[in-house]
Amino acid sequence: MNIKPEFSKVFPSKKLINRILFQLDSDVTSRTIIPIYQSIYEKRVIPIKYRSNGDVLFLMNRVLSKIRKMSNYETIPLKEMRNTLLYQSASNGSNDAIALLCYEILSNKDVKPPKKKEAEKLLKDLVMLGHGLSFKVVGDLYYSMGQTAECISWYEKFLEQPQLKNEWKGEVLEKIAEIQYRQGPENIKIAEQKFLEVIKICKLQDCVKSYFYLAQIYIKYDPMKSKILLEQCCTQGFKEAFKELGYLEMNYFRDYGKAQEWFKIGMEVFEIECYFGYFDCSFESKQYINCVNCLKSMESLKNVDKNYKNYIKMFVTNRMEKIQIALKNSKSERSTPSTTKNNANSVTGDISKVKSPSSRWVM
């Protein structure tokens, strides 16, 4: 029989909750909400005093959402608690919660049509009432459908609302900027300004994408700025940033040691391009054993994905000469004990849309 772990072991510290409440500019203290969390966790019941207080329940839901964002991870009990709180606050009249719940229902493909219709109706009513967050939710729905023009118009309506919270504002601005960035070079300047605004008003953890896109914009014109932005992304574990930073260090700053470290981290999350970069870096630094180990790791990756197979084949064809040199030299290198070992892992992940690394910098 599974014994439920203690609440204090599952739930984050009081200090963190207080910090989040301060960030959310809430007048409710941790002394009030932690017992409610405990009650939900242990007894699956919300205390009667707060059962009909939708706003407090929604605030508690947001606290849990923040924790998830900060740690990039959520345990099952916390997830259940968050969903319960959202549902309860929606049923107790919190419009924000209703809007978010409608989004969850409408974006979920498994939900049956009658329920979806009901959610649609509720969302329409909220829009008619002029409820701010509903505009964002409608925009999000259009965004997920790929209808960018409608999406931007709804987001703009949302941004017109007075006293917007920076967190929501940043999220919406980031999405608008992302759409404009993808539309083509003519909109890059507007997108850049929006991304800059986002990183000004939001915390790093809430706007990693903006940092990444800005790094992409600056990469050809201000590599140093781009490097700093990418490093910020890496601190948040943004997967795409490792290979970008690795290639930047390798092909522009010529710092093979640093590049190798970034590629190594990328290899731990199974970014195929990081394997290619790691091989090149090791070759440049004459660490031929690492080259051979990296090749072996790539061999084991071949069976994971069809795309991988093609990319690895292309890589081997392009680097044939280097591979031969590495194989030849690794034999003599093996006799020296000081050589470092490769950290490449076996592969279980799934990566799509991998591009050829040779086209990235070498133009």
Binding site: I188, K189, Y221, D255, V362
Partner: protein
């Protein structure tokens, strides 16, 4: 002979837009596929690109007259005036000449001081971020350049720093008194740029002559086994080369002592970033100039003589003992300087869509990110591709189509 065969030259052989100056045939063969060359040639032959010293004729969008030194010597000008003026009797000619020279020189200094103050005041509140080289290059490549930014405003934004020479100038004048004039004669860089005499300007250009060994070192790190033979980032070069390169660049404003400190503390990134920034300055300046030349509605573009001399000097497109100011004042020399610029642009900007660049036809796509191996490279080679050569008078006949 071996020394002439530089790595840089060998490496340039692969570039399709390079011009060979060995024979007329080789020149025309190398220029055959260069679209920009043909375009510029047509414009020069049709007198759509002109050089003039008349203020009323020159283009205001590209020339910043008041920030550059004169191209004719004050002494020669005054002597010419006094010799043609019959009113002054012969016995009074010499004292009058010297009086006029001193008066003219004082006027030049007064104008230089007021102009440097005026330019400084004009751009004092303009955002330096707006005019930063990476920002402008990005805007040019994405075709989103602010319409208010012209070539004139771009160069004036840099030349405004000349104002800060004034306090130093005054302090040194009070300390050294009359001796300061001798010091300015010995080290002309101490004086205001727009007040420089022809001789002082020649001295400065001589000190910035692009040395062969440095030119070769620019691509010295490109070795066998690397796939980046056409790209050399500033970080490819060692710190001493970077320092020497910066010291030789006419556009460098960072003092020598600062560079020495950076070098002593091995702050390579600081020096490398500065070199990258200067490289971007040249690209932006060239692009803005070409944009004006290539514009369909542009008609005729007229450079001032001062601007042409400055363009050549900044890009180090001259040989030892060449006096750019003398050259620009005679027809053949003027033509030569104009063609040096044309070939330099044709090498760098061939296949770059200047007016509406796309992701596949922009400068960084052609050359790579901050590729300093093309920094101030004239675009011309001789000895069948083994020596960097600057377009000279004997090569002028290469331009005609006949044999």
């Amino acid at each position: 002979m071996y020394r002439i065969i530089s790595k840089r030259c060998l490496h340039y052989k692969t570039y399709p837009s390079i011009f060979l100056l060995d024979t007329k045939q080789s020149f025309q063969q190398s220029a055959k596929k260069n679209k920009l060359y043909h375009n510029l040639k047509q414009k020069i032959e049709n007198n759509q690109i002109l050089v003039s010293s008349e203020v009323s004729k020159i283009d205001n969008d590209i020339n910043s007259l008041n920030t550059l030194p004169r191209t004719r010597s004050v002494i020669a000008l005054e002597r010419e005036k006094i010799n043609t003026n019959s009113i002054v009797p012969n016995w009074r000619k010499t004292p009058t000449l010297w009086f006029r020279i001193i008066r003219a020189q004082m006027k030049i200094y007064r104008e230089a001081i007021t102009n440097s103050y005026r330019i400084h005041k004009k751009y004092k509140n303009v955002s330096s971020i707006l005019y930063s080289n990476p920002q402008l290059l990005k805007d040019l490549e994405f075709n989103s350049l602010d319409k208010r930014i012209t070539r004139k405003s771009f160069v004036e934004m840099y030349r405004k720093n000349e104002f800060w020479k004034l306090p130093r100038f005054l302090i040194m004048f009070f300390i050294f008194e009359e001796l300061f004039l001798v010091m300015v004669y010995l080290w002309p860089k101490l004086g205001l740029r727009s007040a420089l005499s022809v001789g002082a300007y020649k001295k400065i250009t001589e000190s910035h002559l692009f040395r062969d060994d440095l030119q070769n070192k620019l691509c010295g790190t490109v070795g066998v086994g690397k796939n980046i033979s056409s790209i050399s980032s500033p970080y490819d070069l060692d710190i001493s080369t970077l320092k020497r390169l910066l010291q030789q660049l006419p556009t460098n404003e960072t003092p020598r002592w600062k560079l020495s400190i950076w070098k002593a503390f091995n702050l390579k990134s600081k020096i490398a970033n500065l070199v990258a920034n200067k490289h971007e300055y040249y690209v932006v300046d060239d692009w803005l100039l070409l944009k004006n030349i290539m514009r369909e509605d542009s008609g005729t573009i007229t450079f001032s003589k001062r601007e042409l001399v400055n363009m050549i000097a900044e890009r180090q497109l001259y040989k030892k003992n060449e006096d750019l100011n003398t050259m620009v004042n005679n027809d053949n020399g003027k033509k030569l300087l104009l063609w040096r610029m044309a070939l330099y642009w044709s090498f760098r900007f061939d296949n770059v869509d200047i007016l509406s660049p796309t992701q596949n036809s922009n400068f960084t796509n052609k050359w790579g990110v901050n590729n300093v191996s093309i920094l101030n490279f004239p675009g011309t080679l001789s000895e069948f591709g083994d020596k960097v050569e600057i377009f000279d008078e004997p090569h002028l006949n290469y331009l005609s189509n006949g044999k």
